[in-house]
Symmetry: C2
DNA sequence: ATCTTATTGTTCTAGGATATAACAATTAGC
DNA sequence: GCTAATTGTTATATCCTAGAACAATAAGAT
């Protein structure tokens, strides 16, 4: 079950040079970046389906979750924490504000910054959002095998991200 | 701030309600999809830098690698194997053909399909490509801690992808 | 204080990746 | 032979990401 049962066809002799003298071609299935991309797309796909009713995308989810957890942060702080360029954050925040879920409040000390907060409706929304997210996340954890495997995966991904982690945002 | 098992699963009150009565907000850092996305972006970033000289993007790499490993496959087969819609595959293949790295040959049995092959120059290119890729992949493996951790990670990602894996393509 | 530099939010723009619909050529089923 | 399905293709729309530039504001140096 967990061996070499790959989808990727199986013509070629595998080990031998396929084209003229090509050494050891890697199987796409064993490439870190490729697997990461496929897995991420799958998880996001599940996320999008789960949140179709609430009409919420991953980026919006992450922003709401951050504001709920730490209200009052500046736009640039949240953007940086999430790895989103502040230029791209604007439209995102505009949408959340237009939906009445969050709002920007002019900073009193630094009047060019905007402190982000949930509206009362936003708070109610986040409650529903978290319920949906829980079933989504649990589905992913189930696929992995359980919480232990989840922790293991997170740990491995953290290693990848550790060194220079945030490429600035 | 190292290990620490997170509480993202079902139960777990974790912290106090942040906003008005919000239960257990998850830390973005413990969310599978979020971590996957960040890690994938980091790996792709490294990939793009590594391949800046060769002017090659991940998707093109994967196509060349597949053609090199299994020449003669149809366009739609390679596209499906890589999770690329055949509509989006056209421009990709156009570019590779324009660069003289691969070509389409009309199938003799089924004349609407195109069998994909590397050109001689494509074969030479793939050789250089694999050299670059090796140092890139080794850098990622080093970050993870070693080949054992790489295998572990791949295994965990395979679990995620296992069930319905290919969302069709 | 003033002059210069940096930060914050913003707009505009451009590239890439992904998704769907439709179409011509070809093949397969009946 | 007629109808339905497949293959490659074009066209299109959306989202995500990235970079440059700008006004308002703040911070630092003189």
């Amino acid at each position: 079950m967990t061996a070499d049962s790959n989808t990727t066809t199986r013509h070629a002799p595998a080990t031998e040079a396929t084209a003229a003298g090509l050494p050891a071609l890697p199987q796409m299935d064993s490439i870190i970046g490729y697997k990461l991309r496929r897995a991420q797309l799958l998880v996001f796909q599940d996320f999008l389906q789960s949140f179709a009713k609430l009409n919420l995308r991953p980026a919006e989810f992450s922003v709401l979750a951050m504001i709920a957890r730490t209200p009052g942060l500046k736009q640039s702080e949240i953007a940086a924490a999430l790895g989103i360029k502040r230029a791209n954050f604007v439209a995102l925040m505009d949408a959340l504000e237009k939906r009445g879920l969050a709002d920007r409040r002019k900073g009193d000390i630094d009047r060019r910054s905007h402190a982000l907060h949930l509206t009362p409706e936003g708070t109610r929304f986040v409650r529903k959002m978290m319920a949906v997210w829980n079933t989504h996340e649990n589905r992913m954890i189930d696929r992995l095998g359980g919480p232990a495997e989840r922790d293991l995966l997170i740990g491995l991904l953290d290693r990848l991200l550790a060194p220079d982690a945030t490429p600035d945002a």
